[in-house]
Symmetry: C4
Subunit: 209 residues, 4 copies
């Protein structure tokens, strides 16, 4: 089975499969998150009085669900932006993408950890680290396809490329910085992510207009 080269239909199907597989992982990762929110077990006679409090006590789980759903959504948007310009693929692209997907598929574990022990520093650091590495891998994917115009149809505007790379290094950098913050205030670190995810999404929006 030869290389992607000139045989277009073959190359296209492979590229479609990479994208489909990625969307499958995205879809499953965001849907699995809910499995971590378990219905509280309450003895028969006490449900009416206990249930409201028990459900409220799950709020760190809801926050984790929201945060990871939001984070994966932003990743999907960036992934979509990158792959829209891609016309062919090679092993490097496949493996970088798999590496990225490995961290997306891993995210439910730090999310679960955060939902359980969100007021401790270590889970906060692990969660921030996972987001930072995933985001960095997306930046590497972007760098990989734009440098030497590999895999893409037409040269990208250098200013746009520079903007994406700077942003793609700054965002994960701040995620890593939030680990330092978490030593002082765990909740400050968590809220910095919310801000960061929103800023990331908003910048993308403004730039694409």
């Amino acid at each position: 089975m030869t290389d992607a080269g000139e045989r277009r239909p073959e190359a296209d199907r492979g590229l479609d499969r990479i994208v489909n597989l990625s969307d499958g992982v995205f879809a499953i990762a965001i849907t699995l998150l809910i499995l971590d929110i378990r219905v509280p077990e309450i003895p028969e006679g006490m449900v009416a009085t206990e249930l409201p409090g028990e459900l409220l006590a799950l709020w760190p789980k809801y926050l984790g669900y929201l945060l990871s759903f939001l984070g994966i959504s932003v990743f999907w948007n960036i992934h979509n932006s990158i792959f829209r310009a891609i016309r062919s693929y090679d092993r490097g692209l496949i493996w970088l993408n798999f590496l990225f997907l490995m961290f997306v598929a891993f995210l439910p574990f730090p999310t679960s950890l955060l939902g359980e022990y969100g007021n401790y520093q270590l889970p906060v650091a692990i969660y921030a680290g996972t987001l930072a590495v995933s985001r960095l891998l997306l930046t590497m994917l972007y760098w990989y396809v734009t440098s030497a115009n590999r895999s893409i149809a037409e040269a990208q505007d250098p200013a746009t490329v520079r903007f994406f790379l700077i942003r793609g290094l700054t965002i994960p950098g701040i995620f890593l910085l939030s680990i330092a913050v978490s030593f002082y205030s765990v909740s400050a670190a968590i809220w910095s992510w919310v801000a960061l995810i929103v800023v990331d999404a908003v910048i993308l929006r403004r730039r694409s207009h």
Copy 2:
């Protein structure tokens, strides 16, 4: 990575990805529902006598499975009706769709809650609220793409648009009303949803002919 504008093939692939991702979440959400129905654990010697009763006692779980499967099926149908007319996409469409998917992916939790504590008012209210918000988000999606003819190929017939919007506000409105009903009768509220989901599906059917 420029905007969808005139580059048709790129725009199409992105739109296909949004639809595929949505179908992935739909498929996983309806299939995960079964994980909530657990095989009862019965001591060795008592299986033959206990199993039938234990399986019958799971009926609220079966009802929840049926209800959520039915609800997600109706959501899929409406989602399909909306996206059939869409020709391009922008960030607003993506984020509205993600918000909708977040509630679809969340549904297994209220379903599980309903299967466990379905004779209490709170789970019934949470379930009704989740269905109402999901349905409202679909209406917002429809409103988003039809207002100013954004994303769609040709102007929709105003009467049809009005009909869809009225229906798209009435149905979630009645879901919210059922929360009030649930304070008086929990089972009346539950059966009103079954009626509502069926009516929703039947109206859609008649209108499209």
Copy 3:
């Protein structure tokens, strides 16, 4: 949002979505089956001596995995045969398909029940009933699209249609008969399914050449 009628590209995307959603449910159902086979918990010092026996003792779970994987594979093949001829869709097709998918997504529960209590009559009857109903719904799907040539491009050969309908009624009929057998011998009923699934697949194979 008008009917499928003459607007081909719209109709096609909807049909693709039905097929994709179905394949999503098929893929998840066969992959979820493995979640039911749990690693046995053995105290530290006894692993070397106990593990082989504990893993062998899981054989009803392996059999259930194999059986349900095989069953869903056959269902997929028949589903693929039916949808290959379909050119358009209507609400009836969508709902029949969802009803079928509801039973495919349900199958992990009877499988789990069979793996736990496979030597009792009730789980065997429930499993046989689920396979029978799923298979009947596929026959109804086939009947729906071939009667009055609804949804398909060209009239089917009446002899072929008759053959598929007879087979599509006989196979679930024998599944139902195996419930009667299960009152006398549980394992005879289980082995009759294996035979039946294989026969079903082989008949399909011979006929299509």
Copy 4:
């Protein structure tokens, strides 16, 4: 429902479905792996001191996640290489593919076993056996489509075919050999897989250029 023969569009949709279903199983299998890494349960007052150690103690689970993710990624690459050349399909191809998918979907169980009892010989042997059989089934798929040029558009270069077959028999052969190694050293066997998966990926890369 006649055979694939000359009706191209029908054949294509079926082939797309086989590929999509496979990608669904690949995506779910790699995403389900994370469900096996559970958050440790620690009493309230001891989290700060115990959590780091408890998380480190999960390292066999992380290794299993990494290993199985890597293994399935390599399988996906080979699967993609094989299917890129395929132009039509028959029942044999479908069933071989389902058999392969059955082992891919099964992999989370040996992974879980390895994560729990990775320092014992039996789980290591079961894991190696699963990888070996999956890899052999891919080789059989390749042999099936290239022998007599069934299903593919153009004859493959005999030297390339011979190379793929030799490699496709050698790799699973060495996996099987690692079972013998595991009787002497369990960790030597595990590290031999890592080497093997990497070699497998690298050979593929060099050959395709």
